[in-house]
């Protein structure tokens, strides 16, 4: 029951909203909690126990940490580490056991042929990668005394199991959502209309654009050996667009669902394609994962003893730039390792993490040289052409990253990347190759127009030309025309029904 399916939109969500509205204020959070567990159960059945046990565990660890004397620093730290290790252990076991076994077997096969670790059929509980991070964040926040440990178990449970967030995040921090979730305010008309509009916008991205591009992506990535040159390059672009439209579209549905219930969930995307460099891209793309890694990995590592020692050493022996580069390397490595691993047990994902690690580090390394060049050439950094150039460069980095991310294995990714430069002729774009993937000219036209709409909305947001408040002031007929237009567009141009297949959410698999 993914968020874009009719059963969620026309049955589950309305029923939950209705039950929420008709129950007394004090009961409402429990309606949400029950909805979360029903949602989880519908998708993952009995595996809902993982969520329940994680909740109980997190709750009591937090209380234990708080109950330990402040002076007993070591004791508190031990409890925290125990808590983190258990949660990561479960996640790691479920996600990486087979990957581990497979690679160990590869080695064993060389040393002792015939000896092997058995592979297991492991079914992942839905959203485990998301709620585990939230649980760890909560425990650390209590340890850091940013927040008191929550005494009410149900509050922790709702924080970890709020149904719109279960499948794909956003990964929120306890202070961000817990109070809102517990308010039990009645649904207001403003929230209902605003949230619904956002949901329709999400469907627009997912059903009109992403589900069409899926066909191109599927065809080329699954049979990459049949294509080269511009076809592969276009497929990488198509996948990036598909992923963005799908993930951010799903987030629109998720945040819209939250908005109806009066809950403001953290945003996960902020016009990522307007980024001028890779670092900025990651502050605009899957924001909540980036923030989580920054808060719970990057800063702790960068204030750790190793970094301090390096800092000290650098001060006396190295240039300022080198010192900074060293700190960056030490602090960024675990972040990007974590990012790669988090996506799942595949060498491709690890590569993806290391790819961005390298690029970000390179960015820092060449900073002084770049600044010199800019100065010598007297380039105005705010000039439009320079900005465009930077954005274009960032796009190349993004597309390449997603190519490796999506490819069936690292080797396939490498082959695909290499084959872009073989036989690169633009006429492949027109010779009918792209009509053989199950999309016709009309489909491409729709995709193009859809992307244009998303881009225009993106520019409006980026430049803050029109916020929600101002939107309310636009005259009613225009506003209604836009709303009706959106709904009709989704109905007419959505890729659903006979001749289309329903496409599962990509990030729900992580």
């Amino acid at each position: 029951m993914a968020y874009h399916t009719s059963i969620y939109l026309f049955l589950f969500l309305p029923v939950v909203l209705l039950l929420y509205q008709i129950t007394p204020r004090k009961i409402r959070p429990f309606v949400l909690l029950a909805a979360g567990y029903v949602f989880f159960w519908i998708i993952s059945g009995e595996l809902v126990w993982y969520l329940i046990l994680t909740t109980l565990f997190t709750h009591y660890i937090a209380i234990w940490i708080e109950g330990t004397e402040v002076k007993n620093k070591k004791g508190r730290k031990r409890i925290l580490i125990f808590g983190i290790l258990v949660l990561l252990g479960v996640l790691g076991y479920l996600k990486y056991y087979n990957f581990f076994a497979q690679n160990v077997n590869r080695v064993l096969d060389q040393v002792h042929p015939g000896v092997a670790i058995t592979m297991k059929m492991i079914v992942l509980p839905i959203g485990i990668s998301f709620y585990t991070l939230q649980a760890i964040g909560y425990m650390v926040d209590v340890y850091w005394k940013k927040i008191p440990a929550e005494k009410n178990l149900a509050k922790v449970a709702l924080f970890l199991g709020f149904f719109p967030q279960i499948m794909e995040g956003p990964i929120s921090m306890y202070p961000q959502t817990s109070q809102q979730l517990w308010k039990g305010d009645p649904i207001t008309l403003e929230n209902l209309t605003g949230g619904s509009l956002r949901i329709i916008w999400g469907l627009f991205k997912k059903m009109i654009i992403a589900d069409r591009l899926y066909l191109v992506v599927q065809a080329v990535f699954e049979h990459y050996d049949k294509y080269n040159g511009v076809v592969i390059a276009a497929a990488a672009v198509a996948y990036t667009v598909q992923l963005y439209m799908e993930f951010s579209g799903c987030m629109d549905i998720v945040l819209g669902s939250g908005q109806i219930l009066g809950v403001t969930l953290p945003e996960n995307f902020r016009q990522p394609f307007a980024s001028r460099n890779a670092a900025e891209f990651w502050r605009r793309w899957h924001i909540t994962l980036g923030v989580w890694l920054k808060t719970y990995v990057f800063f702790p590592v960068s204030t750790s003893r190793i970094v301090k020692r390096w800092n000290h050493f650098g001060k006396t022996h190295l240039s300022k730039h080198m010192t900074k580069l060293g700190i960056s390397a030490i602090a960024l490595f675990p972040v990007w390792l974590g990012n790669g691993l988090w996506h799942g047990a595949r060498w491709s994902y690890l590569f993806y993490g290391m790819y961005y690690f390298t690029i970000l580090l390179l960015g820092i390394a060449v900073e002084p040289i770049r600044d010199q060049i800019l100065k010598v050439c007297r380039i105005n950094q705010d000039a439009v052409w320079w900005r465009m150039l930077q954005i274009g460069k960032t796009w190349m980095i993004i597309f390449t990253g997603e190519l490796f991310f999506r490819a069936n294995g690292l080797r396939a990714g490498y082959r695909m990347f290499r084959s872009i430069f073989e036989n690169f002729t633009l006429d492949k774009l027109w010779d009918g190759t792209f009509l053989s993937f199950g999309l016709d000219k009309a489909d491409y036209f729709i995709v193009f127009c859809g992307c244009l709409c998303v881009a225009i909305v993106g520019i409006i947001r980026e430049r803050s030309l029109l916020d929600t408040q101002q939107m309310q002031k636009v005259c009613l007929p225009v506003r209604w025309a836009v709303y009706y237009g959106l709904i009709i567009a989704v109905i007419l141009f959505g890729a659903y029904g006979v001749g289309y297949q329903q496409v599962d959410l990509i990030y729900a698999g992580f």
Partner: protein, 333 residues
């Protein structure tokens, strides 16, 4: 005071907005239904029958056949017309789900009042478990009330001038492919039985209720298909039919009376029947239902003149195809 009046204004606005949306959807649905009736060849295969049944003159059909591909490959309405003068129509679809069966019937019954609904039983085993079943129900319900959902992407065929032309005879098409079935006897008597889920039974009840409201009787039948049927399934269907007091005709037990020749009559190795097989089933089934349900013979009625004309053209074409089938079957191609 001002607060509550602005609140009321907002609520009124929302209601008007939604009413407008509803009106828009209904209007579009109406337009698209008209359009599809006039441009049947722009409709893809699976949706053809639901358009065509709505095009038939009101209350002219006496027998409706529903089910998955086993239904439309086993009954030929114009063959039945030729033999018994019974006016039948096929509302089967490839891979029809029971939810679709229900809404297909519901659509058909708005303009038609058949005396008999023939349900091909293979659909009873196409389980849509739990959430998937509910999802399908939501989708079919939406398609039923707002056909714009079902035909939403017809603009594409209009734009590109794409057509899906098929020679269709009251929901039937002439299939002349031959791939023999040579697996031998497949209905070995046993007391074991397959499972028909509670969901399926509930839908059967819904269908029976719907037909009762429209004074149509329901009969189960199973088309001869070694790939899809077995005695275990037979037992399961028989049990359900007994429970609901329905007549059940399993043609898999009558292949000899039907004189099915698996070398010639199978289209794809025992999955579906071709034209030759369908004609044989239709001859048997037509006589069977006419006797039991006292179905009228319309052949001399002026209102059914077009049927006579269609049947003549059907017979002519069918004969040629059947000769082709026999050639293919006997030469072992």
């Amino acid at each position: 005071m001002q607060d509550s009046s602005s609140r009321r204004k907002k609520i009124v606005r929302s209601v008007i907005f939604l009413a407008g949306l509803l009106g828009l959807l209904l209007w579009m649905s109406h337009q698209i239904t008209d359009f599809t009736k006039k441009n049947g060849d722009m409709i893809q295969g699976r949706n053809k029958s639901i358009v065509e049944i709505q095009k038939e003159p009101e209350n002219t059909i006496d027998v409706l056949v529903v089910g998955d591909s086993e239904s439309y490959t086993s009954v030929s309405p114009l063959e039945m017309w030729k033999n018994q003068g019974v006016a039948s129509f096929i509302c089967g679809q490839s891979g029809q789900k029971i939810q679709e069966t229900y809404y297909m019937l519901k659509t058909a019954l708005t303009h038609q009042s058949p005396k008999l609904v023939l349900l091909e039983t293979n659909v009873l085993f196409r389980n849509m478990k739990g959430v998937k079943g509910i999802q399908e129900e939501v989708i079919q319900k939406a398609d039923y009330y707002f056909p714009i959902f079902r035909f939403h992407d017809i603009w594409k065929n209009m734009l590109l001038g794409r057509k899906y032309t098929e020679e269709r005879y009251k929901g039937f098409t002439l299939r002349d492919m031959v791939q023999s079935y040579d697996g031998g006897q497949y209905m070995k008597e046993t007391t074991e039985k397959d499972q028909i889920t509670q969901d399926m039974e509930n839908y059967t009840d819904k269908i029976l209720e719907l037909c009762r409201e429209h004074n149509a009787r329901v009969m189960f039948y199973s088309a001869p298909s070694p790939l899809n049927y077995s005695y275990r399934k037979h037992n399961a269907i028989q049990e359900l039919a007994d429970k609901k007091q329905l007549l059940y005709l399993d043609l898999n037990l009558h292949t000899e009376e039907l004189s099915i020749d698996w070398k010639v009559d199978s289209m794809d190795k025992g999955d579906h029947l071709n034209l030759s097989g369908a004609n044989k089933v239709t001859q048997y089934l037509g006589a069977y239902i006419q006797k039991r349900y006292e179905l009228p013979d319309h052949r001399r009625e002026a209102a059914y003149q077009s049927w006579q004309k269609d049947a003549a053209s059907y017979v002519e074409k069918a004969q040629k195809r059947i000769m082709l089938i026999q050639d293919r079957g006997n030469s072992g191609k």
